[in-house]
């Protein structure tokens, strides 16, 4: 039975159910803050205004206000002088472009309205590693950041570009004369034209060094690839060709090696003809990949190295020379090895261990397997940084050997572990920082060269060898900015624009006869011949370390006994390397695993937390508090709040990059702590000692315990591949029954329905199908929904009060592992008693799920019930049902009783407790003119006091219908989209018209795996879920 498993959402739910109980009964945990506007009692009593006077004032001001309101404001409309041919007011234009900010690389489509980019979408034409993830989706907001540097600056004062140019050229020649180095410290551009440009710059000024710096380094993997294949790059993996995936510490669904592997991975996760891929994850932090794995083995980072060495010995041979692994892990490695061997070329091994030998071992294993998914011919080019070069640069800077330092796309003062050294070195040199912000580094540099956003820039990117992409501006530069390449052209005395330079570079090499305009239109171009580009990195093969001749044994031997805990640093799905820290969408984006927003934290296993006396507590409101801990690496101590993370390997802790920014962002965004301070030697694994800090607890903005689904089961159906293949649907995906005349009747039957069925067979009837197998929980849909529907950002305090406004949330459920079959009978009894303390405690005793739970993600938005409970309770009929299946919400009619939210079994309705636009209390993007440019003009910005929720993107479906009507044609399957389904690159979300019998979603509705959320309630939703199937077969 699918309901065998008990789902719980947090440790608290297991330990202390009283709070959970309270929350289950109260959707809104706090009273309306009347004190805020009524003032305190003392002030009221001290006032000389009598009650009568007060009423007089109220009466007068009401009359005055209503009189004033009778005069409508005069609105001005200003047309173009000369209307650009391609712009029709009210009609969106799409441009293909590419984001390449050094961390995220993806081909995207940009939706512009009246010349303003308002949304990032996937460029379906370009499936080169990486669709738009949550950060890329959110990147459009960075364009309208009110804290952008609006022009070149010297020591905080504005200067002209001419002055800057003159000064830079003077300094460059001075440095050349003095024999000092000129260093270009840049992000990974992976840009053929920029490489060419830099080599021209080198020619002109001599002693020029180009140092490529990735904030989160993949240097070890790059070195390993370079040593083996002679080219600097990262091996490419096509996960759609892998049926057995073993990952050792690689969060390949996250940002591992540049990310973008999720769509390939998801393809084999959906059972097709009884087959699906098997994914085994060895890791210490609970990552997205681990959460999606069929089998997850928690182990410390040093054990990971041993496990990898062992795996190597089992597959490639050559013996195992390391320490003994714990029996459980050893067994898991052996099983993984046998499954890999069985899979042969369908197997794949990946690893995220930042170690040259480890990465070499991975390459060797994949070669030995002849893995089809392993592609060493077209390496990924989006990481090129070299740790060694950066380290040399810092010491050179300190020694005063560098005359001129030009930085672009990097923020080393924030991202380097030895920031003080770098900052000191900066004083010895003339420095220019190309930056969009007055951030930590650029404020210390002599000049800030205001850089444009990528949506204002030209550029080209070689995403992987032979696969090129173009960046084009989608808006005229908002400020007096000039991009790095344009400046280099100027400083080399080249008069051509960067666009012409790219055209020239492409025309002579890459295009080989292809059309530039076509490539620009598509955004991508796949070269037929490999183009030799200049070696940009200055990392010649002598420079890089070479792996030991027997990498595996070297790897195994390198593991020594460790004291204290092992820390694994990682990048969070929302924040990445921290460039977009001033992006309120990303700050408020709840982490898929911890469901915590506006923070980073130390993840600690339950066992270690008990040992260290670290606690997590929930307030009566459900808000989460956690202890602080001092984390020390080599005498470097930072104080971090703690979250107890189920699945965290005992003996390990985790901490994410990207937080703790201090410059170039609003105060509200200065959240978390800077983990780069612990990133010594660019190694993500560090030995740390952790001490509890006594005193007050940290207040998290965690949505984890909020919006509980009333403890009702059958929310997330799950089964194993074996059961799925062998048993009848009734066994693993039964429709709930009720008793009618003492006969069980399926709830979907009309006989037991409270309402009459409305005939929806004519016209469109929209359904959204969500495949729990394909959903990786990446959260791109959450941000896409934000952007499309003008969902407001409410801030940390409000999220803590569970007033987050996300229309679409991705619930994360931890489950107990597969070890309690024998307790079935007892458990089933208990599942009937869900909600009573005894049973929850009983489960706690019965299992120890916190050690290594299975995880499932479930995106939940308005289910658009055909028999919607919300509609029947609205006293003003503000929410009603459309024939096309959508549950409508007329904001202008809503009076804010919130009955609908109380009556919604899915808890998907969101109430506007405040006015979030043009309100200084909520100083996010909706509070300034610049930020409001991102708003979608087709969707209204809701006001205070109204309820809102997912509309199934009715503005998009209506537009599709209108376009078809205007063209006088029928609508094809695939034309209907919602923001979330369009953003989903893993294919988990399918949207369409079920009255179109040939449509994909109509077929999915008939699928055996299909079920509805809380089906027994009888709401008949228009959102379907596909049962999660796990491939637990150990063969």
């Amino acid at each position: 039975m699918s309901s065998n498993k008990k789902y719980w959402k947090s440790v608290e739910e297991l330990n202390d159910s009283s709070i959970v109980e309270t929350l289950k009964q109260n959707e809104f945990v706090q009273e309306i803050p009347v004190d805020e506007f009524l003032g305190d009692k003392e002030a009221l009593e001290g006032s000389s205004t009598t009650r009568r006077d007060f009423l007089k004032y109220v009466g007068f001001s009401t009359a005055a206000a209503s009189l004033a309101a009778c005069e409508g404001p005069v609105k001005k409309s200003i047309p173009y002088i000369v209307q650009p041919q391609e712009i029709i007011p009210g009609v969106a234009n799409y441009y293909a472009t590419t984001i390449a900010d050094g961390f995220d690389f993806a081909s995207v489509l940009v939706k512009t309205r009246e010349g303003r980019p308002i949304k990032i979408e996937n460029n379906t034409m370009a499936a080169t590693n990486g669709s738009a993830n949550a950060r890329v989706n959110a990147s459009v907001l960075g364009l309208y950041d009110s804290l952008r540097v609006q022009g070149p600056k010297k020591d905080g004062a504005s200067v002209s570009w001419d002055d800057l140019d003159a000064e830079v050229i003077k300094q460059l020649t001075k440095a050349a004369e003095a024999g000092k180095d000129v260093v270009l410290l840049t992000q990974t551009f992976a840009s053929p034209s920029t490489s060419k440009l830099i080599s021209e710059f080198k020619e002109k000024y001599g002693n020029v060094r180009h140092v490529v710096y990735d904030a989160v380094s993949e240097s070890a993997a790059l070195d390993a690839y370079q040593a083996k294949y002679g080219e600097r790059g990262l091996a490419n993996y096509d996960f759609s060709k892998a049926m057995t995936i073993v990952s050792i510490g690689a969060d390949f669904l996250g940002d591992w090696q540049g990310g973008g592997f999720d769509s390939g991975y998801a393809k084999n996760r959906v059972p097709d003809h009884g087959k699906m891929s098997r994914h085994i994850q060895f890791e210490s932090n609970m990552s997205l990949s681990g959460a999606n794995a069929d089998k997850r083995v928690p182990l410390t980072p040093s054990e990971q190295k041993l496990a990898l060495a062992k795996l190597h010995s089992l597959i490639v041979g050559g013996g195992y020379a390391g320490k003994q692994l714990p029996a459980k892990v050893d067994d898991a490695v052996k099983k993984a090895a046998s499954q890999l061997k069985k899979a042969g070329s369908n197997g794949l091994v990946v690893s995220g261990i930042q170690d040259l030998n480890a990465q070499t071992v991975v390459l060797e294993i994949n070669e030995a397997l002849a893995s089809k998914a392993f592609d060493s011919k077209t390496p990924i080019k989006t990481r090129q940084g070299s740790d060694k070069d950066v380290a040399t640069l810092v010491s050179d800077l300190k020694a005063g050997k560098v005359g001129v330092l030009i930085m672009s796309g990097v923020n080393p003062v924030y991202t380097l572990p030895n920031t003080a050294d770098f900052a000191e070195g900066l004083k010895n040199t003339f420095s220019v920082a190309f930056s969009m912000k007055a951030d930590e580094t650029s404020t210390l540099a002599n000049y800030i060269a205001a850089a444009p956003h990528y949506l204002e820039s030209w550029g080209d990117v070689e995403l992987k060898k032979g696969h090129y992409a173009l960046t084009q501006p989608t808006i005229r530069p908002l400020f007096s900015t000039r991009q790095f390449q344009e400046s280099l052209l100027k400083w080399t005395g080249n008069d051509v624009s960067y666009l012409d330079y790219i055209k020239d570079a492409w025309g002579t090499g890459i295009l080989s006869g292809g059309s530039f305009n076509q490539a620009l239109h598509d955004g991508v171009f796949v070269g037929t011949i490999a183009v030799e580009t200049e070696d940009t990195t200055d990392v010649s093969s002598e420079d890089t370390e070479t792996p030991a001749s027997n990498a595996a044994s070297a790897l195994a031997r390198s593991v020594k006994g460790t004291e204290g805990l092992e820390l694994t640093l990682y990048s969070k799905t929302g924040m990445g390397d921290g460039q977009q820290a001033n992006n309120p969408w990303l700050q408020e984006f709840p982490d898929p695993i911890t469901r915590t927003s506006w923070d980073n934290y130390l993840t600690v296993s339950k066992a270690d937390a008990e040992k260290l006396e670290l606690v997590n507590e929930n307030e009566a409101t459900g808000a989460l508090n956690g202890s602080y801990a001092n984390v020390t690496v080599n005498g470097n101590t930072i104080t971090v709040p703690v979250i107890i993370q189920p699945g965290q390997a005992i003996g390990s802790v985790g901490l994410s990059f990207g937080y703790g920014r201090k410059a170039g962002l609003k105060e509200e965004m200065m959240t978390g702590v800077n983990a780069y301070a612990l990133y010594s030697n660019f190694n993500t694994v560090q030995n740390v000692s952790v001490q509890k800090v006594d005193g007050k607890l940290h207040e998290f903005a965690c949505v984890q315990l909020h919006n509980t689904l009333m403890g009702r089961g059958d929310i997330l159906k799950e089964t194993t591949l074996e059961v799925f293949n062998t048993k009848d649907k009734k066994y693993w995906n039964a429709i709930p029954t009720v008793s009618l005349d003492h006969e069980p009747v399926e709830v979907t039957s009309q006989d037991v329905d409270l309402w009459d069925e409305f005939d929806r067979s004519i016209g469109h009837h929209f359904n959204l199908s969500i495949d729990l197998n394909a959903c990786t929980g990446c959260g791109a849909c959450v941000i896409a929904c934000h952007a499309e529907n003008n969902v407001p950002v409410v801030g940390k305090e409000e999220v803590r009060r569970s007033r987050d406004m996300h229309w679409l949330r991705i619930d994360r459920y931890y489950s107990s592992a597969e070890t309690f079959d024998g307790d079935n009978a007892k458990k089933e009894e208990m599942s009937g008693l869900w909600g009573e303390k005894g049973s929850l405690g009983g489960f706690g005793e019965m299992e120890d799920p916190a050690e290594n739970p299975q995880v499932a993600f479930q995106p939940v938005m308005c289910q658009h019930c055909n028999h919607a409970p919300c509609e029947t309770v609205c006293p003003v009929a503000a929410t009603s049902h459309g024939r096309q299946g959508q549950n409508h919400m007329a904001y202008n009619r809503c009076v804010g009783t919130r009955y609908c939210a109380n009556n919604c079994p899915y808890k998907v309705r969101r109430f506007n407790w405040f006015l979030y636009a043009e309100n200084d209390e909520f100083d996010y993007y909706m509070n300034d003119d610049l930020g409001r440019m991102v708003l979608n003009p087709d969707v209204v910005v809701r006001s205070r006091g109204v309820m809102e929720k997912c509309s199934m993107c009715i503005q998009m479906t209506q537009k599709t219908i209108l376009d078809a009507k205007r063209d006088g044609r029928e609508i094809k399957d695939g034309e209907f989209k919602t923001a979330c389904s369009a953003a989903c690159s893993s294919g988990a979300m399918t949207f369409g018209d079920i009255n179109d019998k040939g449509s994909k979603v109509a077929k999915l509705k008939e699928d055996n795996r299909m079920y509805h959320l809380l089906e027994h309630v009888g709401t008949k939703p228009n959102v379907q879920y596909q049962t999660k199937v796990r491939n637990t077969t150990e063969a």
């Binding site: 309101a69 009778c70 409508g72 005069v74 609105k75 001005k76 409309s77 200003i78 047309p79 173009y80 002088i81 000369v82 209307q83 029709i88 007011p89 009210g90 009609v91 005939d759 004519i762 016209g763 503000a878 009603s880 459309g882 024939r883 096309q884 959508q886 409508h888 919400m889 007329a890 904001y891 202008n892 009619r893 087709d938 969707v939 209204v940 910005v941 509309s951 009715i954 503005q955 209506q958 219908i961 209108l962 078809a964 009507k965 205007r966 063209d967 006088g968 044609r969 029928e970 609508i971």
Partner: protein
């Protein structure tokens, strides 16, 4: 696209001229005579026919030339005479120039090159299709004397639409007569009354004195029931009026703001019959109808620099010409130099039709798909000298129309299936918008 614009310009100039005809009936008569002559007598080639010439001129030349004003090309009044007098060029040179000016320029002709330089090296379009006779006709037209502008006295409202003046007068007479009759009657009664009283006094008949009764108002106040009824009535009626007042707040029907440029829809859409969607082209494809950008205005106003239509005391020719100058100033067009100066200043029109943000309205749905006339909602725009909001733009108004209007399904494949099935379900021949789902909240509110 550009070509069609040019065609339209030509048509427009035609229309403008026709307006002049109407005004100057004398001229029409004279032209009529000439036309008559043209049919009866065969004129020699040398003389040409000014009437034919005029239509040829309007069709071919008027886009760039005016008779009395330098435009893209030079003014052409008495061009032949001038060329002969000043440059010594004969009609053959003109033939050659018109048919292929660039060839003449290439041949090194001094005057041709001079003209070419003078007009920004914009070569004149070649007209090889014009015969000698055509050109003669055009020249004959250009050789005509300039007609004096209509004198100030009868410049105002020269053409009176057939106004119901007679009826108005007769109504007034009847009313006046009735009034006089009543006055006479009242006077008569008063006199009779007075006379009777005098008779009574004369004959000593005692008139009964009116006894002092309780005043009516006092009786009224004392009657509690009546007071109650009145109070209820008063409350109800005041509630009615307050409700009425409140309900019309922010309903801006009739809103007629003063615009920065006096743009007359009457002249453009009415007198000249320009299609609404020529200027408001985005209404066809977009949610907004779009306020035309100034370059659209200049499609025509590059050559229409003055107003020659009907005028009123309030809006004289000078007034309208001044408004055109405002346009030139905004778009940065130098009429004397016939080129753009590059100094533009956007026009801040006052928006008349304002829907609240929470309403989604799409013009193309109504105009392109629904085939609605603009006037259905915007009223008789072609009669509006100053545009105003015709419809209340309330939800009730929208809904009323959706309830009664049929969906235009003809030749639209999208509707084929759904209309067939739905009309069968509802048992109607044609579906209204409401039956199609046009009353659902979410169709307009999101």
């Amino acid at each position: 696209m550009k070509k069609s614009y040019q065609r339209l310009e030509v048509n427009l100039t035609n229309n403008m001229k026709q307006v002049i005809h109407r005004n100057l009936s004398k001229n029409i008569l004279r032209f009529g005579l000439i036309i008559l002559l043209a049919f009866t007598t065969s004129l020699s080639a040398q003389d040409g026919d000014p009437a034919k010439g005029k239509s040829l001129f309007n069709a071919n030349c008027a886009a760039c030339h005016k008779l009395d004003k330098k435009m893209t090309g030079p003014a052409l009044r008495n061009v032949e005479q001038r060329l002969a007098d000043e440059q010594g060029l004969d009609r053959d040179w003109i033939y050659a120039w018109i048919r292929n000016s660039s060839a003449v320029i290439k041949s090194g002709d001094a005057y041709a090159n001079k003209i070419y330089e003078e007009y920004n090296k914009a070569a004149m379009t070649a007209f090889p299709q014009l015969s000698d006779e055509d050109i003669d006709n055009i020249l004959a037209y250009t050789a005509q004397e300039k007609t004096p502008p209509p004198s100030g006295g009868n410049g105002n409202v020269t053409v009176n639409p057939v106004e119901p003046i007679d009826q108005g007068i007769s109504n007034e007479i009847i009313l006046g007569a009735l009034a006089i009759l009543f006055i006479l009657l009242a006077a008569g009664l008063y006199l009779v009354n007075k006379t009777l009283r005098r008779f009574a006094a004369a004959q000593n008949i005692e008139l009964p004195e009116a006894t002092k009764r309780k005043p009516l108002w006092k009786a009224f106040v004392e009657n509690q029931f009546l007071m109650l009824v009145v109070a209820i009535f008063f409350l109800l009626s005041s509630a009615y009026f307050v409700y009425g007042y409140l309900m019309q707040i922010d309903i801006n029907q009739g809103y007629q703001p003063v615009q920065p440029i006096h743009f007359s829809h009457k002249i453009h859409a009415g007198d000249n019959g320009i299609d609404c969607k020529y200027c408001h082209s985005s209404a066809r494809v977009s949610k907004t109808s779009g306020i035309p950008s100034l370059n659209v205005c200049m499609n025509c106003h590059k050559s229409i620099y003055e107003y020659n239509g009907e005028t009123t005391a309030e809006h004289s020719k000078e007034f309208y010409d001044g408004e055109i100058q405002k346009l030139y100033a905004a778009v940065g067009w130098s009429d004397s130099e016939q080129k753009y100066t590059g100094e533009s200043k956007p026009v801040k029109w006052v928006r008349i039709h304002n829907l609240p943000d929470f309403v989604y309205f799409n013009h193309s749905q109504h105009v392109s798909v629904g085939g609605q006339e603009c006037q259905t909602c915007h009223g008789p725009v072609e009669e509006m000298e100053v545009l105003y909001q015709h419809a209340p733009l309330t939800m009730g108004w929208c809904i009323d129309c959706h309830r009664t209007t049929n969906v235009k399904v003809e030749d639209n494949e999208y509707y084929e299936k759904i209309h067939a099935e739905l009309s069968k379900k509802y048992g109607v021949e044609k579906l209204t918008v409401a039956e199609m789902g046009g009353l659902e909240c979410g169709k307009c509110h999101y």
